[in-house]
Symmetry: C2
Subunit: 136 residues, 2 copies
């Protein structure tokens, strides 16, 4: 017997959850929305959601539930934070524990904050150097 068709569900796919702090100022979210858009352009079949710790929607649980409903069995969580302070080291793991209890069929992988990547440090330094390209 053939499995029922589920055209909107990509069972077993791997989703990306971009997690940012959030702020009261709506313009604050723009860089994070640009990151999500750039990933979707590079990897159009990969489910991508942007979620926020506070002030902005959706929160992590809502975005994770959407990815699970889309059939994601693996979700990569990438903190879009420059430094890894309490939000990344404490709040986010606690939120992930809650998600694991709620979606036991989904494997979450928490990655280091982007600010801990040499690639991001180099990009920030490059921006600073380019302000005064004539400086020796």
């Amino acid at each position: 017997m053939a499995a029922p068709m589920q055209p909107t569900v990509r069972s077993g796919s791997s989703g990306l959850l971009l997690f940012a702090h959030g702020a009261r100022d709506a313009r604050w979210a723009e860089p994070f929305e640009q990151v999500a858009a750039a990933v979707r352009t590079a990897q159009p079949s990969r489910p991508v959601r942007l979620a926020f710790l506070e002030f902005m929607q959706p929160d992590l649980a809502t975005a994770a539930a959407e990815l699970a409903a889309e059939g994601c069995s693996r979700i990569d969580v990438l903190p879009l934070f420059l430094g890894a302070g309490g939000h990344v080291r404490k709040d986010l793991p606690a939120l992930l524990d809650g998600l694991r209890a709620r979606h036991p069929g989904v494997a979450y992988t928490l990655h280091p904050a982007v600010g801990e990547s040499p690639r991001l440090v180099a990009a920030m330094a490059g921006i600073a150097v380019a302000l005064r390209p004539d400086a020796a």
Copy 2:
């Protein structure tokens, strides 16, 4: 008549003030210290200071006073923030107004937050894409 020697003062030089949020967790500052170190490596004669809005030292006024004391007549202020919310749009301009009153001989240039740079957005997206390089 020759000008007096001032070996520790590079009068008229252009300084860089990297401005980050700060956090209670000391490890939080590491990416920002790495950015400062990378700029010093690339531009060893350019005076560079890292300052914080809260929780960490030095604050903006202290770091700016050090650059002025080093003879900087121009200071580029680069916010190491991913999003441009209230801290970048309101707190920082207010702090700069205070610095301008305190150091009238120094010209401060406030640059956009690094998160508003396409270069940084591309770096973050690249990190996200590389988590699943096989995703289409």
